[in-house]
Symmetry: C2
Subunit: 519 residues, 2 copies
Amino acid sequence: MNGAQALIRTLVNCGVDTCFMNPGTSEMHFVAALDDVPEMHSVLALFEGVATGAADGYARVSGKPAAVLLHLGPGLGNGLANLHNARRGHTPVVNIVGDHATYHAQYDAPLQSDIASIASAVSGWMHSATDATEVAGDAAAAIHASMQRPGQVATLILPADVCWNDAPGPAEQIGTGRGPEGVDAAAVAAAADALRSGEPAAILIGGALMRTDGLRWSASVAETTGAKLLSETFPAIMDRGAGIAPVERLAYLAEFAQMQLDGLRHLIVVGAAHPVSFFAYPGKASDLVPEGCNVVSLAAEDADLLAAMAALAEAVGADGTCTVQGSFRPERPTGALTAQTVCEALGALLPEGAVVADEGNTAGLFAPGATAGAPAHEWMCLTGGSIGYGMPVATGAGIAVKGTGRRVVNLQADGSALYTLQSLWTQAREELDVTTIILNNSSYAVLNMELARVGAEPGPKALEMLDISRPDLDFVALSKGMGVPATRATTAEEFVAQLEAALSTPGPNLVEAVIPSTL
Amino acid sequence: MNGAQALIRTLVNCGVDTCFMNPGTSEMHFVAALDDVPEMHSVLALFEGVATGAADGYARVSGKPAAVLLHLGPGLGNGLANLHNARRGHTPVVNIVGDHATYHAQYDAPLQSDIASIASAVSGWMHSATDATEVAGDAAAAIHASMQRPGQVATLILPADVCWNDAPGPAEQIGTGRGPEGVDAAAVAAAADALRSGEPAAILIGGALMRTDGLRWSASVAETTGAKLLSETFPAIMDRGAGIAPVERLAYLAEFAQMQLDGLRHLIVVGAAHPVSFFAYPGKASDLVPEGCNVVSLAAEDADLLAAMAALAEAVGADGTCTVQGSFRPERPTGALTAQTVCEALGALLPEGAVVADEGNTAGLFAPGATAGAPAHEWMCLTGGSIGYGMPVATGAGIAVKGTGRRVVNLQADGSALYTLQSLWTQAREELDVTTIILNNSSYAVLNMELARVGAEPGPKALEMLDISRPDLDFVALSKGMGVPATRATTAEEFVAQLEAALSTPGPNLVEAVIPSTL
């Protein structure tokens, strides 16, 4: 057994049985070893950002990490943006970066670079393997690290000779201690005091509290105490829809978020980051919490959030019952196809159990409202602000739900789609049940809005940099070029018909919605 | 005047009048300032790897740096692979990475990351701007640094408030001292002694010696002394074709490079890296120089290489004359379309003054031979081994030659094309005279070869990871989707006709050559 075989066997032993990859020469022994471990499912991506984003999406939906295999520093660079999103979303990822053989580094060959320096920007744990006899243990440590609550990117740098040299065998899984245990009693008491004060209060939740049980307990506490329930702006994944406790997400736009927080005297933060503006704007505050508001951190992001919320519930006498979302769907829209009617159609048709990868950006603003009362589903957001996440994350989600009958819906802005369009090819190869909706408004519309918000006065050259028409992108042609069938809709009726067909057709497909460039 | 206006005015004052960009919110004041500096040509890319590769290609052809504008750490990550190639090719690039406002960093907003850590892996010079009153000077320093011989990536991290705060005005260009002056007399003497020893010797050249005059002086020295003339494997840009002194490039495959170097007693290295294997292989040497061979470093990569070669010529009595390449073209091929007949067609049709971006990889192996006697042209190679360089570099070259009547030809392997396919859109928007030839063999063919070379024994799962059919990529559809007209050829006659039409049609176009997956 060589190091690569021991490593892959260890991954499978520890429950990591999916590897998204874009390998090169230094990874060839890893690739050759795939045939020795039949349980490992290897998924090829044509670009590294697809592989890293797919690993993120897979873990969000399945709850367990995938491995990624990248080719030296440049391959890591290509995958870095979606590893950044995984870092911000606290997704467990076992990130394996192939490197030159240990003895080859001294020659400064063309592909030599400082992998550790690049990886450190996204990794919660990092290790450079140096010996084939130890690499199985290194892999077990990487998996263990990736799953430390709330989840993180664990990077294992893997020299080629560590793969090809002899190894004694695979390693066993490292014990399951996943993060700080117990509940901070003083924080529970402070939060309970704040909620019982009679003053305006809100509870801001995130992470594991965005799933059905967490939402229920959080809503129960909020209803019992009269507090407002808010959540982080961009959860990695949340449960929502009919029968599930709804939650109001903190707005992306600081102006709107400040309105949500206005007048609060107490803010209980549970597994979420402190509310700050996504970007800085001249003359505007970065910290969105109103002056004089008492902020209680009930539980940090690495805590046992359900235990913390249960303790708070007990302290305020909440019994875990709450109002849940009622069932409703918009009418099937007719007439002009717009950002709004696209979202209404999605709300009218979204299948039960669907997984939505939402990178609709400005054009997707109506989507949460239009789908709020649809049958229960999962919703994924852009956690780190690095665009180009939607198509890869949908791809990884498609792997995670394959064979279950569940459909993945990727609500995808046009500009963002162009960063990782190669995802479609992997969806075709793996025959994934993913439907992509392209919101084609021929514009980086969010930047036209941001240009005004930062107080910049654009002329024609500036506006040209935000305009992605001239030439127009033809997403039907692009999709077919990648092997995914596609259609184009220019009216609401066409879009409804095409989306309905797409959602019920096995395998991947794409519907391009041509919409105006303004909301 | 704000910081952004002062910065862009400084770039133009210092001769940097082209900026490739993929901006975001933190760069909006930079974008707005473009209209205040009409001399600045701003070029939008749909993906950062296109912008960085285009800056590389622009500088290779024009001899002066372009600026790049990227959006925080993730944008830098997306552009990193082609910055790696620029680093290895010693290309001057002024790499501007937008960042959050200085005071916003403390809030750890979602897009916050360690930009410096990522940038350090590719930057020869790096600075974080902190003050709008100093940013013009920072920009002048970045330009100066980028042009230090032999050229490097200079990264300026640019917080948003440094752009929007008031600045006193632009800065002037910093003096032109570009690197170590003079010639190492002892090295010249040692090299001359070696060349006069009567023992087998070779001169290995690179960098500036790959242009017409450098080749002529190098060949003159080689002919005068009976030495073999070799060059670096992957020059950033070289002159070649009829009337120019030819040079044998050191082979990519270590086995072949060792044959080129076999039996040498002396190796004179001038502006090139020491010959090492591109990758490590089990049981094979990384250092390719034969045992006992005397290596003389005549001039390091940052030296004045022409001066060093002229001094050596004087020492050995070479007068600067040499045999030049004669004129020949292959016959227009007929019959089956293969890697070889594609390259023969290119040799038959390559226009005078063309600029070739060669990312043909395995399928392009015949191209140098088939074009050796074509009218004089420029040839660009993959300097850093990070695939996905060809289409962006061709795009930047297209900007550099725009309006001159020269054509850019991008000989492009299919797998590598998929990393930065968005280049086509920028070629269409900017109406560049770029012809892309896609060598579609449905395979990462180089990896099939490398798999054998590293001694790995592949099974079906491994081979699947190197196969990019299933589904087949349709490059004609992909190209049209990006706004570039395209045709597909399946016979040599079709390819000749389509390539001839493409080369004489203004604007960008693409010819997909469907070839067998084996040479």
